[in-house]
Structure formats: structure tokens, C-alpha cells
Amino acid sequence: MKANTLLRSLLLFAGAALAVPKPLQIWVSSQADLKYYEKMIGVYKQKIDTGFHAEVKAFGFMEMPDKLAIAIKSGINPPDIVQFDEIFFSLYLKGNIPFVDLTDRLAKSPLGTGILKQRMGLFTWKDRIYGVPQSVSSVVLWYRDDIFKELGIMPKDLETWDKFDAVGMKVKTATRGMIALDWSYVGILLRQRGYDFYGADGKPFPDSAIIAQTWQRVADWSKNGIGLLPDRSSIFEPEFFNSYVANNGVLSVMGPDWYGLDMIQNFDQAHKGKWRAMALPTWTDSLSHGNKKTSSFSGQGLVIFKKSRKVENCWKFVEWVNSDIDANVDRFIGGNCFPPYQPAWSDMRLSQPFAYFGNQNLGQLFAELAPTAPFTAQSPLNAVIVNFMREQYFGAVIHNSSTPEQALGGIKEQINLMMGGKKKKP
């Protein structure tokens, strides 16, 4: 009797467990994104599909790609949807791409024409699109308005990079620099000038001389004391905010929309109301094209894992969250990023003042700059080049252990060796 009861209970439990559909797994890489997508799942269930079940998991920005690689390689518990940075996405371009080709779906979707063309390249390889970008990532100069006022600097004094340097030389001290330096600046400035680390075919360094010249500009900022290089050469680490920013050691930082909206807002509560954003100073030399006041850096998007058991359900959610006006507005107001979906730009809520940024109308600034953002191409070498720049060679150039030309030569040789080439004899 007791055994029968136990058996019946076990069968009921097993049946109940099997009947509950396994929720879709969405992996993101920040707490801000976790809150956003959890909210969007709730809204999607209410508005579109009451049977939609999804679970969001947030991992560290650098750790999530590692976990994803293990999950994909082992086949154990991979996610269905991943919010992926375009740099890490490039890791998967050298062989069988594990993400769903969305090209045909996008062609039939409002996203196909609605997403800013310049941003579609982030998740495009060999004319096939594998992801939907979720930010414009327009780069601006985030600056401390309180220190600017104290030193008598007006944004109009920084219209060109030459003027920026002149002001920087006047205001620098042993413990304060005009700008915090970062490895990402080389790429940002390069794209602002109309170039990139690789061509449309993905091959590296088509314009080595320009890259070296641009890199030298950043190195000169350090040499002249205009720029201060944080430890670990990164403005993306919390230590940067705890030290250089907390001690008023830097007046400005170059970064995309999400840098200010997410990182500065979250890591620098002490200076609420004191940060502002302005368009980048422009290049005035003959080698730079387009007179751009912005550039781009990185950016995340949603990709769908090929082996997901509910690819269509995933796509419907991805399409909705990127095309629904309210979802786009929420992404911006929630302190995340400026959306690349152009129909959302006319929504008045994107033009509201941001209290953290001294009531500045950031939406208007990003909407003005976005159409001039440079086109971004993708390459299987993207992650590798970024890694070499960030971890090895950027610091070496700043430290005068290497010139930009030598650094580029070093990176090229490493890539050549990786591709099976032979080491050059000295």
C-alpha cells in the first residue's frame, strides 16, 4: 500500500515536471541588461504571447563569453538567446557559425529597414546577418562640467582635436589630465577618420600608416601629459572610477552612449549632476574623411543559438524587443543604450532630460549624431586584434617600449603565425 502511494506520488511529480515547459534561456552580461530583459519578458507575455517563458541570466562582461564557449563546445545547457558583444561574436566566424542566420527573417521584418544601416555590419559576415544590434554606440566626449567651469573651458573651445590638445596643455597638472586614455581610442579615432583595423573583406590593417599615425596621437597625449592612462589601461574597470575619477584626475573620457548611460551612472554616483556629453572634436587634416563628430565602439546585440529547440519563438521575441517602440524607449531611459531602431527616435520620451547628466537632453544629441556614425565591418580577427591591442601593445607604445609601427608589425606577425605562417628571421 505504502509502496503504491509512493509510486503514484513519484509518477505525478514526474508528470508535472515534464508538463512544465522549460523556459528559454537568455544570457546577458550586465545587471542593467538583466533588469531590462526581465521586464521585457513580462511585457511580451502581456502584450504578445502569454505562453512565452524565458529566464534571464547575467554574467560578468568578460566571463559570459567564456561560459558561452564552454556551453557551445560541450553542448551542455547552452542558452537560446545571447546578448553578445560584437568583439566576442567574431570568435565564432572562423568555422561553423553556431548562431541562426537571420538574413531572410530580417528582410521581412520592420527591423530590416528600421535598424541604422551602419550598425548592421556588427553581426554580418559574408553578407549574412546573425544578430540584431541593440545600440548605436555613438561615441561622444563625456566630460566633467564642474571642472570645465572651474577651469574656464567651454565645449566650443574643443571643436577640433588640435584645439583640444591646446586646451589640454594649459590645464594639465601632475595629477590631472584632460582625458583618460584607453586602448579603445585607437579604433575609435580611426573610425572617426574614416578607416578601420580591417577592410570589408576582414583582412587586417589595410591602412597601416594611418593606423600608426592615429595611434601616435594617443601616445602623444600620454607623453605630453594631456592624457592619463589608468591601471590595466582601461576606463572600463571599476578601479578607474574609484581612483582617477574619484580624485578628479581626469576631465573627460571618450566613450559610446552605453558607457555614460550604464557605466558612469552606475560607478560614479558621487558626481551625479556633474557629467555632460558633447560631440567629439573633429579631425581637420587632409587624410581624414567626412568631418565626423562621432565614431563607434563595440556594441551588443541579440543572437539565437542554432541548436535552440524554439528558434521561431526566440526570433519573435528578438524581433519584438528590437522593434517595439516602448521597448526601445525603455532601453534608453533605463540607462542602457541609445537604440538603433530609427522609428523609435521620434518618440518624445527619448528627448527627456537626464537628471544624472545635469538635465542634459542626451537623446537629442545621440539622435543627431547617429546618422553620421561610421559603418562597422566584422572580421574573424576582431577579437584577436582587440586582445593584442588591449593586453600587450597599447601599454607598450604608451610606455615607449614600442612604436606604433613596431606594435602593428608585432600584431601582424602574431596573426601570421596563428594562420600557420613562419616566423620572420630578424
Binding site: 570568435l91 578601479e239 577579437a383 584577436v384 586582445n387 593586453e391 607598450a396 617600449s401
Partner: protein
């Protein structure tokens, strides 16, 4: 481990089917200049750790023995603390120590001496020293306690006899203390070597997922991690890990053989050390 070894015999595709490549990844290693650089960095780093930690720990052990009884317990606790702290936490704390203009090390060591701030984790000439200093902080106290236990085991009679023969403190140390501690030293050297060889958390936190400026701090485990997670080459990364095994085993064999040979004529052999050198 078996699965890892099988992985090292398969091709490097991240997604989809892989093929059997046999020893190809292993045969590539001598041609990979970064692997060779990581190997040489690791050996240098292991040597640096031993050279710094062993004398410091021995000195601390001597000081502990001479400390007043009531202070010995708290001193042992504080010396043990870094060894018990997770290496990731220590490395994060060490970022405060190594911070360029605002770091503790520059404030208490460089500035008072009138020296310019050192760039401890970006200057390629200082990176290995910084990593070794992290190990020094972590293990010198822990190893000092092991040495202290070893010193306590040396019979007083040896010291008394040597003193009677007119041995100075330095000669006592050279000809009585050191020989008696050889097996203990071999054990701690093996322990420190292994720990330094597999260092990852400290290097990852301080330098990122490769080796820092110009690969100055690129270690074998860091390079294996980079190969797996930046290049997506899991097979090659597994091969690097398994290729390190013979080196580790040889180093341990050498250390333990030294300990075996020197057990003769020490307190552990039951025979007194030879004192004619005194």
C-alpha cells in the same frame, strides 16, 4: 582528465563536429613562439618565487622562534592570513597596492625615497617582479610556519655541541640549521614551484587574460586560457596543459630526489650532521 586528453587529440572547431588529429597540437607547440615565451616566463617566475620566498620565510621563522610567547600566536595568525585568503581576493587587494599614482607601494616605498612612481603592472620590466611579490605576500608567512616547525625539530644538542666547538651564529646557520632543514626545504620548494607553475588568478586579475605589456607576464596557464577562450582553440589549449605535465613531474622528481639524498646525515636520518666543517 581523460576527457581533457581526448580533447587535445581533436581539431579546434568550436561548434559542430571535430576530427581526430592525433598529436598535431603537441607537435605544433615547439613552433609556437608564444608558447615557448610563456614556458620561459613560467620557469623564470617559478625561480623568482623560490628565490624570494624561501629566504624571507626562513627569516620570519627565526624571528617567530625568538618572539615572546604571548605574541607568537597573534603573529602566526597574521602570517597565515594571506595564505588562507583566496588568490583572487589577494590579487584584487594587490591592485590597490600596485596602483600607479595612488598605489600603496608607490606611496610607502618610491615616494619617500624620492623615486618616480613605478608602473608595477604595465612596465614590462617590472611585471614578473610584481607577480613574484604577490606570491611573496601570499606564501612567506605560511612557509615560515612550516620552517618554524622544522626548526623546532632540530635537536638542541646539535647547536650546543657546535657552540661548544666555537661555532659562530653564521656557521651554526650554515652547517647545522640549513642541512637539517633540507628535507623541509625540498618539500616547500616543491609546493611553491607547483603553486607558481599553475598561477592563474593573480595574473588574470592584474594583467588580463593574456600576459600584459609585450607578454612580459605571459605564463603557461594564462596562454592556455587565452588559446581556449580568445582564440576558441580548445584542443590546442588542452594540449598545452598536458604538455606541461612532464616538466612538472621532472621538476618534482628532482626536488624530491634532492630531499632523499640529503636525508642522510640530517636529523631525519637519526644521525647527527657532520660538524667537522664547523
Amino acid at each position: 582528465m581523460a576527457l581533457g586528453f581526448i580533447l587535445s587529440l581533436r581539431s579546434d572547431e568550436l561548434f559542430g563536429d571535430t576530427s581526430f588529429v592525433g598529436m598535431e597540437h603537441y607537435l605544433q607547440l615547439p613552433r609556437d613562439s608564444r608558447f615557448l615565451h610563456a614556458l620561459s616566463n613560467t620557469i623564470i617566475y617559478c625561480g623568482l618565487s623560490l628565490v624570494l620566498i624561501l629566504p624571507a620565510a626562513l627569516a620570519l621563522a627565526h624571528l617567530l622562534r625568538r618572539a615572546p610567547d604571548r605574541l607568537r600566536g597573534p603573529l602566526q595568525f597574521f602570517l597565515l592570513l594571506p595564505g588562507l585568503t583566496p588568490p583572487l581576493v589577494l590579487a584584487l587587494l594587490y591592485l590597490l597596492v600596485f596602483n600607479g599614482p595612488h598605489g600603496i607601494l608607490n606611496a610607502v616605498m618610491m615616494k619617500p625615497l624620492g623615486l618616480p612612481n613605478a608602473d608595477w603592472i604595465r612596465d614590462p620590466r617590472l611585471i614578473k617582479i610584481s607577480l613574484a611579490m604577490l606570491q611573496l605576500w601570499r606564501w612567506s608567512g605560511f612557509i615560515a610556519l612550516i620552517f618554524q616547525a622544522g626548526l623546532e625539530g632540530v635537536p638542541r644538542a646539535y647547536f650546543d655541541t657546535a657552540k661548544t666547538e666555537g661555532a659562530t651564529a653564521w656557521k651554526l646557520f650554515l652547517h647545522v640549521t640549513l642541512p637539517s632543514l633540507k628535507p623541509v626545504t625540498a618539500f616547500v620548494a616543491a609546493f611553491l614551484f607547483l603553486d607558481a607553475f599553475v598561477l592563474f588568478e593573480g595574473a588574470y586579475v592584474l594583467l588580463g587574460n593574456s600576459g600584459g605589456t609585450l607578454d612580459a607576464g605571459l605564463l603557461l596557464v594564462s596562454y592556455s586560457y587565452y588559446t581556449a577562450f580568445t582564440l576558441g582553440n580548445f584542443g590546442s589549449a588542452a594540449a598545452m596543459a598536458f604538455a606541461s605535465l612532464p616538466l612538472i613531474m621532472f621538476a618534482l622528481w628532482l626536488l624530491l630526489r634532492t630531499a632523499g639524498n640529503t636525508q642522510r646525515g640530517t636529523v631525519f636520518s637519526g644521525k647527527p650532521p657532520r660538524l667537522e666543517a664547523v
